[in-house]
Symmetry: C2
Subunit: 353 residues, 2 copies
C-alpha cells in the first residue's frame, strides 16, 4: 500500500470514528452485509456451499467487495465465518441446511480439551489471509476492510454445545464443573484467535472485530471470572494502533465488563438504548444499534428508527452506525441501501460536535 | 377457608416476603418445580400427554402437591402451562415431542386478530380453577398456592411465531408494521389474562405470577410503548391485596420499566446480579435468581452460588429465593432438595435485618 493510499484510509470517516475523532458524517456498515438477502450473494452461493465459499479466496473476496459497493457502506468486512477457526483446532464443522453450524465431535469431557491442537493460522487458515489480500486490492483505496473472529467464549460455546443453543446450559455446566479444563480451552482458543487476527491484520485488514456473539448468556460475575481475562489477553496481543471492535448480543448487563476486557469500539445490540449504553462506556466508541427487524417492517419505519439512533448518538465522535444484529435474510436490499443513504445524509446535515 | 387457616397462610414466610415484611427465613420455591426432573412427575406423564395433564384437575393437583411436599418449598404453583389461555382465544395449540408448543394457525395478518374470540375463562378454563380448588384442599393450610398466566406480550409472541423463537423477529415485525392490530391483540389478551388470573384467585390462589418470558427481546423504549400499558392494565384489574410476581427472562435492561408496569415482586433471571438489580427496583421485593445450570454442575457448587445469592439479598425483607429460570430436566432432584434445605438453614442462621 502506498503512502497516499494509507492516508486515504486513515482519514476515512470509518477510521476516524474508530479513533473517536470528528468525522464529516456518521460512517455505517451492516452486520452480515454480504448475505442471503442480496441477490448477488445468492448467485454465488448457488454454485458453492457456504464453507466452500469461505475457503475460496476469489469468491470470498468477490462477495465482500460486491456487498460493500452495492450498499455504499463505509467499511467492508471480509466474508468468512466466526467458526472457521474451530476446524484446525480439531473440530469437525459442518453447515447443515436449516440447522446452521454443527460440530460433530462436541466437547463434553476435559480429556477432549487436551486433544485439541494448537492452531497455526498461517498453515490452516491461509485462505482467509488470501481472501483479505485479494479484497484489499479490489476495494477502493479509502475503504477500510474489517477482519474478524469469534471470541473464545463463543467458540467454546459452539464447540461444547455442538451447535447453537438457546441458553448454553452445557457450556455453562462444563465451565462450572471443570474450571481447569475450561481455562485450558480458553487459553488454546485465545492463542489461536490472537494469532488469527494478527494474521488478518498483516494480510491487509485495518480493523478487527471480535464477535462474542453468545456471551450474553453469562452473568457479569461469571463473565469477569471465566471470560474477561482471556478476551483481554487477545486484545493485548494485537498490533498496536489497529482498532478493535468488541461485540456481543444480549450483553446489556455486561457492557462495562466488556469495555474493561478491551476494544476501541463496543458493539451494541438492539436490546439497549444507544444513549444510556454509551453513557456507561467512558473512553470508547460505540457501534450500532438499529434493530434489523425494523428493515422488514417498512422503509419508512426503519428510517424513523435510524433517525432516533442518530439522535441518541448526538453527533458525538466515535459512533459507527450499524444494525444491532445481522441483517435478516428476507430484508429488501433496497431498504438497506436507503438506510445507508439516510445515515450519510442525515448525519452530514446535523451540526457535528 | 377458616380464619385460622387464613392466618396461617398470611403469616407464612412466603406471604411475608411478598409484602416485604421480615420473615424468620428466606422462603424458596423453584420455577417448574413440578417437572420432568422429578420421577413422580414422569410417572404421571407416562400415562397422559402434557396437555391432558393440564386439563385433568385431579392429576394437575396431584403433581402440584407432590412437588411442593417432596421439595419442602414454601409455596406451591399450580401445574399448568402459560399457553392454555391461547386455545379459547381460537389458537390451535399442540405440544409436540422435542419441538415444544406449536400454534398451527399462527397470527400473521391483522384480519386474524379480529377473528380471535374474547375469552370467558369460567367457560373455557374451568379445569384450571378446578385444579386450584382441589390443590388448595390437599395442601397444608399454611402453604400458599401461586396461580399464573403468560403475560400478553409472551402470549402474542407465541401466537405470531407459531411456537418458540430465538429473536421473535416475526412478532416484532408485526408489532412495528401493524400497531393498531397489535394494540387490539394486546387488548384482547390483557382482558383474557386479567379475567383468568381473577378466576384463579377466586378459586383459591393466594398469589399470582405473570410470566412475560420472552419480553427480554424488546428494547426498553419498545417495552414502554408496546407492552407496559397492557401489563399495567392487567395488574390494576386484579383483586387488591393479592401479591403479584412479575417475571421475564433476559430482562436486565427492562427491570425499571417492568417495575413501573407493576407487581409487588419482580422476578430476576440469572443474567443479573441480585444486589445491583434490586438496587434499581425501589419499593418492591425480588424473586430469584440462582442459575439452574449450577444444579447440574455439582451440589457443592450450587450451594456455594446459592450462598452468594443470599449474601447479595443481605437478609433484606422481600426476597423470595428461586432459580433464575426453570429447573432443567436432567437436574438431580436431591440437589434441589439440598438447595431448599440450605436456603432455609443458612437464612435462618443469618442475622435478619
Amino acid at each position: 500500500m502506498t503512502h497516499p493510499e494509507k492516508d486515504a484510509l486513515n482519514s476515512s470517516a470509518f477510521m476516524k470514528a474508530c479513533r473517536r475523532e470528528p468525522a464529516p458524517y456518521t460512517p455505517i456498515w451492516v452486520l452480515r452485509q454480504a448475505g442471503r438477502y442480496m441477490a448477488e450473494y445468492r448467485e454465488v452461493r448457488a454454485k458453492v456451499s457456504f464453507l466452500e465459499l469461505c475457503k475460496t479466496p476469489e469468491l470470498a473476496a468477490e462477495v465482500t467487495v460486491t456487498a460493500a459497493k452495492r450498499l455504499g457502506v463505509d467499511a467492508a468486512i471480509i466474508f468468512s465465518d466466526i467458526l472457521v477457526l474451530l476446524e484446525p483446532l480439531g473440530m469437525e464443522l459442518e453447515f447443515t441446511k436449516g440447522e446452521g453450524p454443527v460440530l460433530h465431535n462436541a466437547l463434553r469431557e476435559p480429556a477432549q480439551i487436551d486433544a485439541l491442537r494448537e492452531v497455526d493460522p498461517s498453515e490452516s487458515l491461509g485462505f482467509v489471509f488470501d481472501a483479505i489480500g485479494l479484497t484489499r486490492k479490489e476495494l477502493p483505496a479509502s475503504l477500510p476492510l474489517i477482519g474478524f473472529s469469534g471470541a473464545p467464549f463463543t467458540l467454546a460455546a459452539y464447540a461444547i454445545e455442538g451447535g447453537s443453543s438457546r441458553n448454553f446450559d452445557l457450556t455453562k455446566a462444563f465451565m462450572y464443573r471443570h474450571p481447569g479444563a475450561w481455562a485450558e480451552l480458553m487459553g488454546k482458543l485465545s492463542r489461536a484467535v490472537a494469532a488469527y487476527l494478527r494474521g488478518q491484520i498483516d494480510a491487509g485488514a485495518q480493523v478487527v472485530q471480535l464477535f462474542d456473539s453468545w456471551v450474553g448468556c453469562l452473568s457479569p460475575s461469571d463473565y469477569r471470572r471465566y471470560v474477561l481475562p482471556h478476551t483481554s489477553e487477545i486484545i493485548r496481543r494485537l498490533q498496536p494502533g489497529v482498532p478493535v471492535i468488541h461485540f456481543g448480543v444480549g450483553t446489556g448487563m455486561l457492557l462495562e465488563a466488556m469495555r474493561e476486557a478491551g476494544g476501541d469500539v463496543i458493539g451494541l445490540d438492539f436490546h439497549v438504548e444507544l444513549d444510556s449504553a454509551w453513557a456507561r462506556l467512558e473512553g470508547v466508541g460505540v457501534q450500532g444499534n438499529l434493530d434489523p427487524v425494523t428493515l422488514l417492517a417498512s422503509r419508512e419505519f426503519a428510517l424513523e428508527r435510524a433517525g432516533r439512533v442518530l439522535e441518541q448518538a448526538a453527533g458525538k465522535p466515535g459512533h459507527i452506525f450499524n444494525l444491532g444484529h445481522g441483517v435478516l435474510p428476507s430484508t429488501p436490499v433496497d431498504n438497506v441501501i436507503a438506510l445507508v443513504d439516510f445515515v450519510h445524509e442525515r448525519s452530514a446535515r446535523s451540526e457535528r460536535r
